[in-house]
């Protein structure tokens, strides 16, 4: 049957099981939008293409399926760039489809022509410039396959307008994609396993560093069995949170710049680090020269280029984490690590007393209280999408993630403006889940226009704006390292309640700790997207903090505060 190139796009998407796409039309992509009307795919009209890429990303992180973003040529495709880079850094499988000017005009600086394959070359896993209708189907099928296999990532397919308009004879062909140079699943030599097992069994102070790879490879259950057998405690990266239950007695919490003090100390004192699907980002290692110098290191990672990139390891096992752990599990010995575990427990020492949860209720509203209460009130079961800044770190510390894929955050790129669109993507992927955005007043304003998209789609998400009147995290750095010279960080915001109302949505405000519960309850009970303006303490800081590039054990701690009662039990 004859099909236009535009129709072929949707043919592939339907075959790939895509039900929702996020995009914005324009001159060159028009043929695709025209054809869209005849296909059973929901199109979400975003307010800025960056939002489309973040929505595809959020959709993908929530569901595990490939998210799709669409933009027109020129500005439509350059607007996608931030979202693509975000997805690249966090290994999120998305496919971006852009149109370009007609093939004859490519290279002539035609109206709205951009070299988007050139621009996105270093921030995509792979990309395609398609100038022939015949290449549309193979390129798109490859794009989906590449995006989701191996270490996932974004793939962009840029299609010339004339290739969209031409018709060709088309029969669906199910032969699997063949990419001779693409090797998504490498396997390690058996010797590497032997050496790893020997090291694990003889370690006295071992520690697991669990990263995003745990969820990417669906290794949650395997990791749990591994931990239960070996009794090795687990430290989490930001993107790893949820891959191993926070409530498990051997889950120590988050590591790194704003990690728990005892976790960072334990890393520095361990004699063996087991890095599972993580990449030793500088935000988790601090100064590499003094990082875990007492520990031997085993790195299990699907991407061979990550091994020995930042931290030199003793054993590098390249492969899928779940398969690798299944391989190791029968061969590792059961271990009694009580001495080491007790030691770490002692390290917690006065940490609980220093905890912000212990601050007396003086009527002030602290972001950490909002987030901890939110965790309690949602029984830790909501999908939380955070933006970037202080609130993001407090979320990581105070929303205890027991379940995988319930925290969606921009870790690697740290993209402000990510949360709202990513949350809408997540909600449309998982309509039955409760979705909360936790966002700063700064980041919210970067993509607040997507409230309009939430309204148009009739989506129900709850947006907790942690409003401190500052670009909080930057202000914190100025407080600590720049002598409190608050250059360009105080920020005036619109009335967020009215902003919500202007979109036909509900806006609520909360200014005291005692009101959190009632406001959260009201938001949950209200139909449609709700924005809550939490007016929090303006100059609060995230503790502990390892200054950038400092030794991991050189943490700035929260000053002491008097002990008061708090709730630790989500059931309460």
């Amino acid at each position: 049957m004859k099909k236009t190139g535009a129709q072929l796009i949707w043919e592939v998407l339907v075959h790939e099981g895509v039900d929702t796409v996020f995009g914005y039309p324009g001159g060159t992509i028009l043929p695709a939008y025209d054809a869209l009307l005849d296909y059973p795919i929901r199109h979400v009209l975003v307010r800025h293409e960056q939002g489309a890429a973040h929505m595809a990303d959020g959709y993908s992180r929530a569901t595990g399926r490939v998210g799709v973003a669409i933009g027109t040529s020129g500005p439509g495709s350059t607007n996608l760039v931030t979202g693509i880079a975000t997805a690249m850094m966090d290994s999120s499988p998305i496919v971006c489809i852009t149109a370009n000017v007609s093939s004859a005009a490519i290279g002539s600086d035609a109206f709205q022509e951009t070299d988007v394959t050139g621009i996105t070359l270093p921030i995509t896993k792979h990309n395609y410039l398609v100038t022939r209708t015949e290449d549309i189907v193979p390129s798109l099928r490859e794009a989906f396959y590449i995006a989701r296999s191996g270490r996932p990532g974004p793939v962009l397919v840029d299609i010339a307008k004339d290739a969209l308009q031409r018709s060709i004879e088309f029969e669906w062909d199910d032969t699997p994609v063949r990419l001779p140079g693409y090797r998504p699943n490498l396997r390690a030599m058996p010797e590497e396993y032997e050496r790893a097992i020997e090291m694990i069994n003889s370690a006295r102070r071992p520690l697991i560093l669990a990263g995003h790879g745990v969820m990417m490879s669906n290794a949650m259950d395997t990791l749990r069995r591994f931990v239960d057998k070996t009794n090795i405690p687990v430290a989490m990266t930001l993107l790893g949170l949820g891959g191993f239950p926070a409530s498990h007695p051997l889950n120590l919490g988050m590591m790194g710049m704003h990690g728990e003090a005892w976790v960072n100390t334990a890393i520095q004192e361990a004699d063996l680090l087991l890095a599972f699907g993580m990449r030793f980002d500088d935000r988790v290692t601090g100064n590499l020269k003094t990082y875990a110098v007492n520990a031997r290191k085993i790195h299990i990672e699907i991407d061979p280029s990550e091994i020995n990139k930042n931290v030199r390891v003793d054993v590098g096992i390249v492969g899928d984490l779940r398969e690798t752990l299944e391989e190791l599990l029968p061969k590792v010995a059961e271990g009694d690590r009580s001495e080491w575990i007790n030691y770490i427990t002692d390290l917690k020492g006065d940490s609980a007393v220093r905890d912000i949860q212990q601050l007396p209720d003086t009527g002030h509203l602290y972001a950490a209280h909002v987030i901890n209460d939110l965790w309690r009130l949602t029984a830790g079961k909501a999908v939380i999408v955070t933006d970037v800044g202080q609130h993001q770190m407090w979320e990581a510390q105070y929303y205890k993630h027991d379940y995988p894929r319930k925290l969606i955050t921009s870790g690697g790129l740290g993209t402000m403006g990510f949360a709202l669109p990513a949350a809408l993507g997540a909600k449309l992927g998982l309509p039955d889940e409760e979705v909360w955005v936790i966002v700063g007043d700064g980041g919210f304003q970067m993509t607040a226009a997507e409230l309009s998209t939430c309204a148009q789609e009739g989506a129900k998400i709850n947006v907790a704006v942690i409003n401190n009147g500052f670009l909080g995290m930057v202000r914190q750095w100025q407080e600590f390292f720049y002598n409190r010279r608050y250059s360009a960080t105080p920020m005036r915001s619109p009335d967020f309640v009215k902003l919500a109302e202007a979109h036909g949505l509900t806006g609520l405000r909360c200014t005291t700790r005692g009101d959190i519960e009632q406001v959260v309850a009201e938001a949950r009970a209200t139909e449609g997207t709700v924005v809550i303006d939490f007016r929090v303490e303006q100059e609060d800081a995230v503790y502990p903090m390892v200054p950038a590039g400092a030794d991991l054990h050189a943490m700035i701690r929260r000053p002491y505060s008097p002990l008061v009662e708090t709730s630790d039990d989500p059931a309460k």
Binding site: L129, R183, R187, N308, G316
Partner: protein
Amino acid sequence: MQQTFMVYVEDKPGVLNRVASLFRRRSFNIESLTVGHTETPGVSRMTVVMDTDDMTARRVEANLYKLVNVLRVENIAHKRSVIRDLVLLKVRATFETRPQIFQIVEVFQGRVVDVTGETVIIEVTGTEEKIDSAIEVLNPYGIIEMVRTGMVAMGCGDDTPSVNPEFVHASAVAPGPVQ
């Protein structure tokens, strides 16, 4: 030390750019890069030379393998191999100096490929060092123009590598253990 990679890539538009961009992006410094056809249609072969330690070389290899269009990477730094560079030199050659220049060319087993009243074009192939010294010796006569191809390399022996092996063991691309 000098690391020499033989990189087999799919002969598709933009592949050279992908490889070059990877080196730029990761701050791997290329000394020389050449590209040309191979015995297999649709497959090009690059020779990439860089000066770096073995650990970085393994990272380069692993990163190259991440490019979808890269079929095979082999570092021949620690293998017996033949490495060649080719230079074309346009040298000032008067009636008096021409015999001397011809002699020098002979010593370097080069060839004179063009002669005019005032100049000659000389072609020399060989290792980088040999070409460097030919240039040095010819320099006093007046080098008017010079072009070099950059290095091409081939491993010695019978075990001709497959252009696109079915399976690459991870250990072949992941850097090995460090004691």
